[in-house]
Symmetry: C2
Amino acid sequence: MPLSPDFTDPRPGQVPLLLATAYRTMTDRFHARLAELGREPLRPAHGYTFRYVASNPDATTVDLAAHLGVTKQAASKAVTELADWGYVERRPHPTDKRAQVLALTRRGRDYLKLADRLWAEVEAGLAEVIGRERLAALDRDLRAYLDATHGDQAVPLRPVW
Amino acid sequence: MPLSPDFTDPRPGQVPLLLATAYRTMTDRFHARLAELGREPLRPAHGYTFRYVASNPDATTVDLAAHLGVTKQAASKAVTELADWGYVERRPHPTDKRAQVLALTRRGRDYLKLADRLWAEVEAGLAEVIGRERLAALDRDLRAYLDATHGDQAVPLRPVW
DNA sequence: CTCGAGTGGTCAACCAGATTGACTATATCG
DNA sequence: CGATATAGTCAATCTGGTTGACCACTCGAG
């Protein structure tokens, strides 16, 4: 049975599912590489947290929550977890006594660098199959779609199941 | 801030995330259409269940569980839920007294037809942005990738977060 | 300056969708 | 035939969330 039976039925409307399964495949390959390197298999939500904190030096827990599409309580829990593991730390907010600013530790920054490398590897795996030109076209097309559908608005990250 | 900050950093390895967010966007549009039509917003897992049962006339709960990537208990729960809602029914298995065969009800088949239509609509929305040729190319590329990475093996459907 | 409305983060209770464990009836195969 | 494996169900537990509440703090209109 090639692929899953979902794909053998030649009906329109299958590209969404192809996007999902291709992404899932890439995620699995990413995690497989992490495991090979003996690194902790942090979840995608952690990865998003890392990258958000790295890109937003003044990010607070509530900012992170909005970014992840979860409640502030869930975000706070994730931050506590990552702080316990030594990847993230909380610092006093420069102007707001209620808030705390999130920052990656050295350990967190190193992990993010590694993740970047591995994602590029995984993407190169796709390029090996379809070619670099097609990869670039894919990149452009998907960006165009997201721009058309969201414009300046944030794109939800959290999957639904 | 165009898109999310994840995309403005010009580093390699972003196509996986583009796949994920494009799929998430399409899922949201699909669910928005369902809501517009006043239909129950069944979860993606339900959709996968419908399609699997429709494509596999002798499917049992354990088969479904393997397909969804969950335990037999979780699959049984989902089936019970869909049966309670009138979309699925359990029938005696022709040869195995322990097992039950799953089948879509008329109501379930109608829902699946509607879902097919709406997914085609959502996909057409992507085609509007990138053109039908590029959509076909995307389709071919992703299939090639899944074939290269999985061959005849089933592709996992359940997202990780 | 005051004060009402709103907000950041934490604690606690609760929830939904899963997993693990167990069990009984049934199936398989040497 | 009997040992092992399996389908489906029930129950307990887990995990990653949400909701509700609360207190200290912020903001802006009057």
